[in-house]
C-alpha cells in the first residue's frame, strides 16, 4: 500500500495530488528558519553568553522578518513557530538574577515562553488547543508521570543538579513546585511537543518527532554535558512519540513535570 502523508492540520485543505509538491516546497523553505535557529544555538555554545545573546537576537529578528514576509506561504509557519526558540534563549539569558530565588527563574522564563507559544500558534493553521484539551486515558498519564521520577534521578546524577537553595517551608516548596512544573515542563512541552512538532509534522509528516526532539536537544547542548544531552535527546524522542501516539501533550507534560520536579526538588532534597 502506497504511503501517503498523514492528514496533518496544515495539509487538511490541500488535495492529495498537490500535497506532495506543497510538502516539498514547505520543507525547502522551512530549512532556512531551521538553519537560523541551529546557527544561533551553536554560536551560543561556542561563543558564550554575550555572543549567544547577540546571535539569538539577530536570529529572532531574521525569523520574524521571514515569518512576516512569507506568512501563508511555504516557510512562513516554520519561521513563526521557530522564532519562539531564540526568544526562549534571549529570555533565559536576560531574566536570571541573583536577587531572586532560582526556582522563580523557571516561572519568569516559562510564563513568557508559554505566552509566546500561544501568540505564535494563533498565527499558523495549527490547533494547539486540541493537543492540550484532547482527552487521554488517565492510566497513560500516570504511567508517563511514574516514568519521569526515575528519569529525574538519573538526570540529577548525570547533570550533578544542585538543590534549588530554597528554605524548607511548605509554602516555598509548593510555589517552587508550581514554578518548575508550569514554567519548566509545561512551557517546554507546549513549545516543542506542541507547536514545533505540530508544525514540523505538517511539513515532514514522518519526521516531526525527530525535528522537535533535535531542536529541544539542541538547547541542552549549552549544559556542556554530553551524557546529559544524550539522556535528554532520548527523553525528547520518547515524549515526541508519546505525543504523536496519544494526540495530546498531556502525557508528555506529566512525564517531563515528574522528571524535572524530581530532578531539581525531590531527589536533591532526599539525597543531597
Amino acid at each position: 500500500m502506497a504511503s501517503e502523508p498523514a492528514a496533518t492540520p496544515l495539509l487538511l485543505a490541500v488535495p492529495p495530488s498537490a500535497r506532495e509538491a506543497l510538502t516539498s516546497a514547505e520543507a525547502r523553505w522551512s530549512a532556512i528558519p531551521l538553519a537560523i535557529v541551529v546557527g544561533a544555538e551553536v554560536a551560543f555554545v561556542l561563543g558564550g553568553l554575550q555572543e549567544g545573546a547577540a546571535a539569538s537576537s539577530l536570529a529572532l529578528v531574521a525569523l520574524l522578518t521571514l515569518g512576516a514576509l512569507r506568512r501563508g506561504r511555504p516557510g512562513g509557519s516554520a519561521a513563526i513557530a521557530l522564532a519562539t526558540i531564540p526568544l526562549l534563549r534571549v529570555l533565559s539569558i536576560a531574566l536570571p538574577s541573583l536577587l531572586v530565588p532560582v526556582w522563580l527563574w523557571y516561572a519568569e522564563i516559562g510564563l513568557l515562553v508559554i505566552l509566546a507559544t500561544m501568540l505564535a500558534a494563533r498565527m499558523i493553521p495549527f490547533d494547539l488547543r486540541a493537543l492540550v484539551l484532547r482527552p487521554v486515558r488517565p492510566a497513560d498519564t500516570l504511567l508517563a508521570a511514574g516514568a519521569g521520577l526515575p528519569l529525574g534521578l538519573l538526570a540529577m546524577v548525570i547533570a550533578g543538579t544542585p538543590a534549588l537553595g530554597m528554605d524548607r517551608s511548605f509554602a516555598t516548596l509548593l510555589l517552587a513546585s508550581v514554578a518548575v512544573i508550569v514554567g519548566g515542563a509545561l512551557a517546554e512541552e507546549l513549545l516543542f511537543r506542541g507547536l514545533v512538532q505540530g508544525v514540523a509534522e505538517g511539513i515532514v509528516p514522518r519526521g516531526g518527532v525527530a525535528v522537535a526532539a533535535g531542536l529541544s536537544t539542541l538547547l541542552y547542548l549549552a549544559t556542556l554535558n554530553l551524557r546529559y544531552v544524550v539522556l535528554m535527546a532520548a527523553v525528547a524522542v520518547v515524549l515526541g512519540m508519546l505525543t504523536r501516539r496519544s494526540g495530546s501533550i498531556v502525557p508528555a507534560v506529566a512525564c517531563h513535570a515528574a522528571l524535572l520536579w524530581s530532578q531539581v526538588i525531590l531527589w536533591p532534597a532526599l539525597l543531597g
Binding site: 551560543f44 555554545v45 558564550g48 553568553l49 554575550q50 549567544g52 545573546a53 547577540a54 537576537s57 529572532l60 529578528v61 520574524l64 515569518g67 512576516a68 506568512r71 513563526i80 522564532a83 519562539t84 526568544l87 526562549l88 534571549v90 529570555l91 533565559s92 539569558i93 536576560a94 531574566l95 536570571p96 538574577s97 541573583l98 536577587l99 531572586v100 532560582v102 527563574w105 523557571y106 519568569e108 522564563i109 516559562g110 513568557l112 515562553v113 505566552l115 509566546a116 501568540l119 505564535a120 494563533r122 498565527m123 547533570a159 543538579t161 519548566g184 512551557a187 517546554e188 529541544s216 538547547l219 541542552y220 549549552a222 549544559t223 556542556l224 554535558n225 546529559y228 524535572l260 531539581v264
Partner: protein, 84 residues
C-alpha cells in the same frame, strides 16, 4: 538545570550591582524591544489595518520582550537601591 537555564548562563551572572548595570545582555534585550516597537510603528503607519497580520507576527516576540524588559528594570532597581 533545564534547557532554559544552563551552566553557561548561571556562570555568567553578574555578582555585584555595578557588574549587573554593565551587563550588555540587558542592553541587547532593550535594543531588540526598541527595534520591534519601531517596526510595529512603521508597519502601522505604512499599512494601517492591512498590516495587522504583520503586527501579530511581531507581537509573538514584542509582547514577551516588553514584559521581560519590565522584569529586568525591576531587578536592576532592586540591585541599585541598597547602594543609595
Amino acid at each position: 538545570m533545564t534547557s532554559m537555564v544552563t551552566e553557561l548562563i548561571t556562570s555568567g551572572l553578574p555578582s555585584t550591582p555595578s557588574l549587573a548595570l554593565a551587563l550588555p545582555v540587558d542592553a541587547m534585550v532593550t535594543a531588540l524591544l526598541i527595534v520591534l516597537l519601531a517596526a510595529r510603528l512603521l508597519v502601522t503607519a505604512s499599512s494601517g489595518l492591512g498590516g495587522r497580520p504583520t503586527l501579530q507576527v511581531l507581537d509573538v516576540a514584542a509582547i514577551p520582550l516588553f514584559l521581560a524588559f519590565a522584569v529586568v528594570v525591576l531587578d536592576r532597581v532592586m540591585e541599585i537601591l541598597p547602594l543609595g
